[in-house]
Symmetry: D2
Subunit: 310 residues, 4 copies
Amino acid sequence: MLDASASGVYVIAPTPFHDDGRVDERSIDRMTDFFLSAGCTGITVLGMMGEAPKLDAEEALSVASQVIRRATVPVVVGVSAPGFAAMRSLARGVMDRGAAGVMIAPPSSLKTDDQIVTYYANAVEAIGADVPFVVQDYPLSIGVVMTPGVIRRIVQDNPSAVMLKHEDWPGLEKITTLRGFEADGSMRHISILCGNGGMFLDFETERGADGAMTGYAFPDMLVDVVRLARAGERDEAHDLFDAHLPYMRYEQQPGAGLAVRKYVLQRRGIIASSALRKPGGSVSAKARAEVDYLLERLARHDPRAGRPIG
Amino acid sequence: MLDASASGVYVIAPTPFHDDGRVDERSIDRMTDFFLSAGCTGITVLGMMGEAPKLDAEEALSVASQVIRRATVPVVVGVSAPGFAAMRSLARGVMDRGAAGVMIAPPSSLKTDDQIVTYYANAVEAIGADVPFVVQDYPLSIGVVMTPGVIRRIVQDNPSAVMLKHEDWPGLEKITTLRGFEADGSMRHISILCGNGGMFLDFETERGADGAMTGYAFPDMLVDVVRLARAGERDEAHDLFDAHLPYMRYEQQPGAGLAVRKYVLQRRGIIASSALRKPGGSVSAKARAEVDYLLERLARHDPRAGRPIG
Amino acid sequence: MLDASASGVYVIAPTPFHDDGRVDERSIDRMTDFFLSAGCTGITVLGMMGEAPKLDAEEALSVASQVIRRATVPVVVGVSAPGFAAMRSLARGVMDRGAAGVMIAPPSSLKTDDQIVTYYANAVEAIGADVPFVVQDYPLSIGVVMTPGVIRRIVQDNPSAVMLKHEDWPGLEKITTLRGFEADGSMRHISILCGNGGMFLDFETERGADGAMTGYAFPDMLVDVVRLARAGERDEAHDLFDAHLPYMRYEQQPGAGLAVRKYVLQRRGIIASSALRKPGGSVSAKARAEVDYLLERLARHDPRAGRPIG
Amino acid sequence: MLDASASGVYVIAPTPFHDDGRVDERSIDRMTDFFLSAGCTGITVLGMMGEAPKLDAEEALSVASQVIRRATVPVVVGVSAPGFAAMRSLARGVMDRGAAGVMIAPPSSLKTDDQIVTYYANAVEAIGADVPFVVQDYPLSIGVVMTPGVIRRIVQDNPSAVMLKHEDWPGLEKITTLRGFEADGSMRHISILCGNGGMFLDFETERGADGAMTGYAFPDMLVDVVRLARAGERDEAHDLFDAHLPYMRYEQQPGAGLAVRKYVLQRRGIIASSALRKPGGSVSAKARAEVDYLLERLARHDPRAGRPIG
């Protein structure tokens, strides 16, 4: 079961599709194996970058179950839904099948501090107080802004809140403030794993984050950066990170980025097709050439960019 | 099957719950029977006012099926969903069970004209071009603004688009513009049924709407207004409408209104409990007294406000 | 100077323009005189319905000054601005010329409770703590939701906050909650005047509001309703209000409503032209006929709807 | 006068303030001189990053005038305003004082394609068809999404539209599409200068952009990148760009970034104080240390990061 001691890299898994839009089970296994071999300490499925809203209820449960069965690390499942009944169905379903916990993003309709706090209270009531959950804080995409004080209220009100998926942007001061709440005793400790495609992972770890929960096409690099940062190898961590940044930035483009990421995962031999389900973009010929150029440059520093895995 | 000749009142059905949040099947039947006796020409289930997002996939199909089985008029089912797979599952499910058509609202993430048009093209591909559908145009709640030109593009691109649920606000000029498109031959005829709690039904029918698709607690009054307007009894239509307006306005308060509506439906003996599923409001003692006062005043003009049905 | 004892009707004044878009000074005087004769206890200029953002800095000061000079009742001036320097310039300018206070709406960019509270603290610092101000709470138009708790924080933090322009929608429970804060001693008393075109004025006064601050084309009716309500003539207040509601609702259409209001003010002989500055709508022939029909019906109950003033 | 042949780097100038919030005229001169010496081909003042909304009308005109007087390159002035009267006042004022053109962003209230096109038509009517203007396309911040087709309509409808400040994100395909419109003859040529802090400048020039219009603290680097790209020194352009990216990304954090930029401009000796006007952030001690570390690393590749100018 997921708890507040979680750290390392919980990679956000994409959902592999065939070119015709069907779920590609074989690629799910191959991808899961790759994540394990890359040193990921956890896997998160059915996040936004997993195209979760494009799956129907049955498919969602099926994809999550397959990863849970194969993985030897904790699996977190995104259960954000338009209503609590659907959230409950999926949460109970995946917990029964061995998920370590679930992740809940606030719906974009929430406005005030109290509405956000109440939403999480209702969500916990719906899924059960025994299910560990991750608070997803992603204002850039969702439009809901949670102050550190609101996060503290959610954590203090709900013992099953064990982790923050931190992707406020900018967010470095937020990590510092939250760790300060822990230091002054006003908030119990939670795990903080960072998103935003890893774009600030170099400093997030230095600010007190426990690692990353994001879907960058090189989770093996994220693992290395977290390891180097923990080992106090600051310059080495930044050197590796900086080498990846030109491509990482390219992958982090909202909307377009997921198609780029899947293209690179396919290029690396991790999934069979780069297809997104509709509605979803594709990578133009020009963009593909740009990515290839970026990876070629990256390969001079990190050979993993130059060749397929395995 | 729903087609562009639909008219009258397609009442938006609430989903009756027990006080503890379970679906109340007995009230579904009673309510369906009432709608039929009230002269409704159609019933729409699983709309926003039907608390559709609060049901899980199984419940949604079950509620819709029950109404379809009992009703002797066309039943339209709201199938708006975060993704096309879930939309398709529900749409095929209810069509198999005898629904007359489905209703699709655009997701609030859509911004440009082209995005809206493409969304409906994708939706039609997902549910099948053989399924008649209603375009829900509800910018006040959803935030997506469809110009008359965009609606025309959707209609012209998709033969299965047969009806507009018109609830832009203000919207009178929009009806006039759309009917003008039909007159100048640039758009084929569609049915236009109006929402917004009926707040402008008196003039909407005069502008060319075919009736109402809304959930006012007195659908029997909506039926009368549409009938009087068609019969050319303009002053009588307005007299009846105006008598209802003080309460109607009260029911039309966003958020709070659904609890008021359910309170009055319960008061009228149509459903057993006024409970909403979480998250959802309730009617305070003060509000209840205000509603009672409004209905008492209304009963002087329309005796239906003073006593339970049956 | 405006203080927390303010009550009655602070009418929101439109800005009269000539057909070519120039400010119409003669109509400003005529309108001001009408407001005084109608029994308004205050006048608010440069609100949203005063097309304030369409005036440049010089025009804004000039329009406000003219009303202040002529009026024998307190004048409140809207000073909402994209930044504090412009807000300060206008606020100091109009206070120097005899305004009773200013009105400040939160910018739509504000998200969290703390951001809203901080915004008002900064605004007070900018305009000076000696300038009485009105908090405009208008989420339907602005998108910023202030909980009762946030309003309390603003009131308690800033002694110069003396009034709430209440136009949350729905908002009846909010009035009750705020008056409850006063009763339990957690918030000092403020004046609450209600907006939203008067659509709920009948109950707002019963919930504890001190009157209206809105721009309905019949402020003389608003004055009567407030007077009747205070005198305990509940049924009479509602009878008058209900007679106006069919037209009032028509005028309250977002966007389109201001053109309707100006058309009726012109019809009543209060302003010379119904023109709005660009960007702004106009009243179509069909709409004009609908308004005329509504006023004709209204005139059977309230003769003021049938003939020009004076 | 600005025309469609503009290229190079039009740096977005911040507005330098003293620590107490007053405009710092001496720093304006020093900064202007630096921009000229850095090889900027133009200067843009009163953009969002120039804290334009925080200036009152008089200050805005004064700041713009000072830069115009001193600069020997074209000066573009941001004139976005809540209304057309204020926009016109500022636009005519700065053009009279020698500005080369103005920049206009759409207000966030615009929704449909037609609304955006109409807005620019009205803006041109307000400022005069003789004033060259830049269309600012910045959906990430403003929330208004302009399709390439909408931009084409604006360009074709208004001969005075001469430049696009491109900061859609992602935006590479948009440049390609717009240049494609020019190639197929459906749109006349305009200048495209790119924003977003320069985060994609390396590829934007390759896609057909004419340069940058952004406020990165090292405009001298932007000048070099544009020059290298034009000279066909692709690898060298990317090498320089990539060296800056770790810091550039840090500066590009919404909200927080401007304080960082001003800190670095101060560190470089270009402005005297890093102060922002309220409301505005500051750079925490931790953030300052992070920036210093990034610049130290950058200085190994680009000595300009290590020492003050002059």
